[in-house]
């Protein structure tokens, strides 16, 4: 089907998120207003006004009532999805880069960038049931987890026991969400060689996918790692970080996503945005590439953006996906029936 082109942002897209029912799509961009769209036809539903800087990330609660956004204006804000009113603002002293609700939506993990004398940090905040009771106290703060390097993404592990983070130092770390202890980290030899740009969990929290800007000589160009928390099923804090699959693409990867329906992964990225204008538009390779999750083979690609792809998200029903680019567009693609019968 023809993609639906959603033009509502004035600046490059940074993040896309579907709600659990798959009927709403939230988009964040470097302009200051996160936007809500109908995931079906791409009509704009509304915006969330209040941020005063680029919005880097968002998450929506399971019942689609709350939205949390992290922004370069050094705040993370809690919104009422329905009315668009701001419920609370968490203030930090450096930009908030990533946000993620825990299972049960009672906690949120927020990462902040290194800024001036501040190092990067991971904050865990309690989310009150009643917005009246909301406070800005941190349950846990992990200062300086990666030193001066930025953390690009931190998400909850299974049962909120752990936090997984990845960032500029190319190392993935698992933290104990209670004590803040470092449980595991990836080996430089096996893992990514450059900045981890994105991280996406599987629907059942069993494994996750990361994308990176890798341009190492060893493997071919950015490769994508696929890591998992997995056996032995004795204790979950023993769940290990094991690399299970690697996908190679010819370009730096900015965004990754996994199909909840089929064994497909999609990656997006492209040439560095600052170099785009100097070359032919095709040189950038601004394509959302589909890979078979198990066989690691490329299935196909979806072209259309004229800037690097910064954000990708699958609809929870697996029948459509959307991509957001440096070009400021969100492209919503409903799969044709052929897609569901791909054989390789």
């Amino acid at each position: 089907m023809r993609p639906i082109l959603m033009k509502g942002h004035e600046r490059p897209l940074t993040f896309l998120r579907y709600n659990r029912d798959g009927d709403m799509l939230f988009s964040c961009a470097k302009d200051h207003t996160p936007t809500l769209w109908y995931a079906d036809n791409g009509e704009r539903h509304g915006t969330y006004r209040g941020h005063n800087g680029a919005v880097w990330c968002c998450d929506v609660s399971r019942d689609s009532s709350r939205l949390i956004t992290g922004s370069a204006d050094q705040t993370a804000k809690l919104w009422d999805v329905k009315t668009g009113t701001q419920l609370f603002s968490f203030k930090f002293s450096s930009p908030a880069r990533s946000v993620d609700f825990s299972v049960g939506d009672k906690l949120a993990v927020i990462t902040t960038d290194p800024f001036m004398a501040r190092t990067s940090a991971i904050h865990v905040k309690r989310i009150a049931d009643d917005p009246q009771d909301q406070d800005g106290e941190s349950v846990l703060v992990l200062e300086n987890p990666e030193g001066r390097k930025r953390i690009n993404r931190a998400v909850w592990g299974p049962l909120n026991q752990t936090i997984v983070s990845g960032g500029e130092d190319a190392v993935l770390r698992i933290w104990d969400a209670e004590t803040g202890k470092l449980l595991k980290e990836t080996d430089k030899e096996v893992g990514h060689k450059q900045t981890i740009t994105s991280l996406c969990k599987s629907a059942d929290d069993s494994h996750f996918l990361t994308g990176s800007l890798d341009k190492t000589a060893k493997a071919c160009l950015p490769f994508l790692l696929y890591l998992l928390f997995h056996n032995p099923p004795v204790l979950w804090d023993m769940r290990t970080l094991t690399l299970i699959k690697t996908y190679t693409s010819g370009v730096p990867v900015n965004a990754v996503s996994m199909s909840p329906l089929l064994d497909h992964v999609v990656i997006g990225g492209g040439q560095d945005a600052s170099a785009v204008t100097t070359t032919d538009h095709r040189a950038g390779n601004f394509e959302a590439k589909f890979y078979d999750k198990i066989l690691q083979e490329e299935i196909g690609g979806v072209k259309g953006h004229f800037g690097p792809i910064n954000a990708l998200a699958f609809n929870p029903d697996g029948r459509s996906f959307s991509s957001g680019g440096e070009d400021g567009y969100v492209r919503l693609h409903h799969f044709d029936s052929d897609y569901f019968n791909i054989k390789i």
Partner: protein, 714 residues
């Protein structure tokens, strides 16, 4: 030793450390008490070569021995001689005298301003006859130690026992008749088999930092040459690549083989300290097999180039152009107004003198015969016409010449078997404001070398590319001013008119700017590099039909394998992304891709010419069906095997995955309750594992929008 250790040791011995003056302690010379200086290892390791600072001093021996009275006179004579050759430093001439008698010792030292001057003075005056009994023996001061160490008695060099060499041509006996290629990416240089059946490459030899700049195959593929700071080295051998020979030439920049790979030419140039001076050039010619230096040429860059008005920095490579086919008999050098042709028997000039040709700007050897073509542009403001001439070597007889009028530029293209020479001539239009192009076609093998003039259908078309069919009679031209130029094919020989050039056809509006004929002819790739982003059209000239149109995005290099069966296209590191190469079949079918970051170079290993006679080749071509059966069967086996392997690999991957998924499922099940608690008891797991939840409920729905009543009249 750590400071604490020292302090405690001092306390033990009862020494007050602060009272000790460390500077007053001297170790006996040559004794270090077993304590190694920190930097000692460093110096030992790399055997650094220091400039002694005496490079500008020469020693002149065999001077007359004169008493004190004549000292000044001799000094003046010497000054007079050497001042002509360079600037002697103030007090730079020192003639030692016997302290007892005051008589000179018969030699002197002269210090020049620069080492170059000293070198020059040495070369010019060594053997200079002052008078009958005094012939100068001049040496560099730096060489003195070396010369003094030469043993007085001559020792017969030991003859090493004969070791049979490796079969350097072993790669040609590959059972699958594959070809090799060398690639450089990042620090690694790799030699690979191209294995189209496996749709991949098979490694032969890989080495990091094998070369310091680039690598090059010898023209017949026997050797691979690598470049290093100390010189060049060639590699080859039966199974892996071993170093066969080294050629010492400091900071070698470029290398070139003679076509029969008997000789290797190495080139080094040094930027002058003064930017207005020409750079210094040193060229050495080595015998490849023995490693002996046959001749070296030194001089300023001007002597090795024609130094056009543009002021080309350095010389244009190759400086020496090899002629006379595979016998490596002659090589020629072009410099201002002269063509110097050397022969390899003596490594001297033919007839001991160069050829004087005023204003010659370009020379070109026939690839097979010892015929040199040369081009002289117009002179005297058009009074003297431009000229293209063919000169037979070594007789220097002019075989044919053609005068051309109002020529702006000229380019010569030899056909690979030396049968034809095409000269592309750019002429001024009457107004002299623009140029148009035409061709002069020489038929070398025919009597009197007839010349034919060919003009394109549209005379004003710009010619973008020209290429002869290897071993064939056809050529292709890309021409036109439009963004999409035309491609035309011509033949020198047709059944109807034997000796006339005929057009075969023109392809209109192609995205092409470069031509790549298959080495076996018949097929050609019309390539659109650079602005056309790597468009490729595989074209069959026999049938005049396109076999495939495809693209290797941003491709920078295209190279046919030596047999003309496969083509490699590469994106080198001039582009940031998608570095690597792709191998295609001759008809444009993509076989496989290899991605390599920082990809620098790709080169197929050339093959020597086939020993089969043309008749035999024709016979094989006729019975191709018979032969091909065997290979087709082999191909099929391989592809069956491959698909079998592939299937098994996939099966294993799938099974492994299933195992994981099972584990995850059970884990998920176990944690169900805990998750439920986290969600305040909400039964919350229907999202992933319950199929029912995915069921779409269809609700039918009728809406009455409006009801109107109309009376229909009958």
């Amino acid at each position: 030793m750590a400071n604490i250790d020292i302090d405690s040791r001092a306390a033990q011995l009862g020494i007050d450390w602060s009272q000790v003056n460390l500077d007053s302690i001297h170790l006996p010379p040559g004794e270090d008490f077993g304590i190694q200086s920190d930097d000692e290892g460093v110096y030992h390791d790399d055997q650094l070569e220091f400039d002694t600072g005496f490079g500008n001093i020469i020693v002149v021996d065999n001077l007359p021995v004169v008493p004190k009275a004549k000292f000044e006179k001799l000094e003046n004579v010497l000054k007079k001689i050497y001042n002509q050759l360079g600037v002697i430093k103030e007090n730079g001439l020192w003639m030692p005298v016997d302290p007892d008698t005051g008589v000179t010792l018969g030699y002197c030292f002269i210090e020049f301003n620069t080492p170059q001057e000293a070198q020059n003075a040495k070369e010019k005056t060594h053997g200079y006859k002052l008078d009958k009994s005094h012939i100068f023996a001049v040496n560099m001061f730096d060489d003195f130690d070396r010369l003094m160490n030469v043993k007085e008695e001559w020792e017969a060099p030991q003859t090493k026992p004969y070791v049979p060499g490796e079969n350097l041509q072993k790669w040609l006996t590959d059972e699958k008749a594959r070809d090799q290629l060398v690639i450089r990416s990042g620090p690694d240089t790799e030699v690979l088999w191209n294995d189209p059946r496996q749709k991949n490459t098979e490694p032969v030899h890989k080495r990091p930092y094998w070369t310091e700049s680039y690598v090059q195959w010898s023209p017949l593929g026997t050797y691979l040459v690598t470049l290093h700071k100390q010189g060049a080295a060639v590699w080859g051998g039966a199974d892996t690549f071993t170093r066969l020979m080294r050629y010492q030439h400091n900071i070698v920049k470029l290398v070139d083989f003679s076509p029969g790979e008997k000789y290797l030419v190495t080139y080094h140039s040094q930027e002058p300290s003064n930017p207005r001076d020409a750079s210094k050039v040193e060229i050495k010619v080595f015998d490849v097999r023995t490693g002996r230096m046959m001749r070296d040429f030194k001089g300023s860059a001007d002597e090795f180039s024609i130094g056009g008005p543009g002021g080309v920095a350095g010389a244009s490579w190759p400086v020496f152009r090899w002629g006379g086919g595979k016998e490596d008999k002659y090589f020629a050098k072009l410099s201002k107004n002269t063509i110097s042709v050397y022969e390899t028997e003596t490594f001297g000039l033919i007839d001991k003198k160069s050829m004087k040709v005023d204003n010659v700007v370009d020379i070109c050897w026939s690839p097979t015969d010892s015929i040199l073509s040369l081009f002289v542009p117009e002179q005297g403001g058009g009074n003297q016409p431009a000229k293209v001439a063919l000169v037979q070597i070594p007789s220097k007889v002019e075989l044919r010449q053609k005068n051309l009028f109002s020529v702006s530029d000229c380019k010569m293209y030899w056909q690979s078997s030396g049968e034809y020479l095409a000269v592309k001539v750019d002429r001024y239009t009457k107004t002299k404001k623009s140029t148009y192009s035409g061709f002069e076609l020489f038929r070398i093998k025919e009597r009197d070398i007839p010349i034919e003039v060919l003009e394109l259908d549209n005379k004003n078309d710009k010619i973008i590319a020209f290429a002869w069919e290897p071993k064939g009679h056809r050529f292709a031209v890309i021409h036109g001013d439009q963004p999409r130029p035309d491609v035309s094919f011509y033949t020198m020989k047709t059944a109807q008119h034997g000796g006339r050039v005929t057009k075969l056809g023109t392809l209109k509006a192609k995205q092409a700017n470069a031509l790549f004929w298959s080495p076996s002819g018949k097929y050609i790739i019309l390539a659109g590099l650079k602005n056309f982003n790597g468009q490729l059209e595989f074209f069959n000239v026999d049938e005049m039909e396109t076999m495939a149109t495809t693209e290797h995005f941003m491709a920078t290099d295209i190279e046919w394998d030596p047999t003309g069966r496969y083509v490699a296209t590469a994106v080198t590191s001039v582009h940031e992304m998608e570095n690597g190469f792709t191998v295609w079949s001759f008809n444009g079918k993509l076989l496989y891709r290899v991605l390599k970051d920082h990809f620098f170079q790709l080169a197929w290993r050339p093959r020597p010419a086939s020993f089969l006679s043309p008749e035999k080749e024709e016979e094989i071509a006729k019975n191709l069906k018979k032969y091909s059966k065997k290979y087709e069967a082999e191909d099929q086996d391989v592809s069956l095997l491959l698909s079998e392997q592939d299937r098994e690999k996939r099966k294993a991957l799938k099974e492994e995955w299933e195992k994981w998924v099972m584990q995850w499922k059970s884990l998920h099940e176990e944690e169900k309750l805990e998750r439920q608690n986290l969600r305040d008891g909400e039964i919350s797991d229907e999202e992933e594992d319950d199929e029912e939840a995915k069921e779409v409920k269809e609700v039918e729905f009728e809406d009455v929008i409006d009801v109107t009543e109309e009376i229909v009249q009958e």
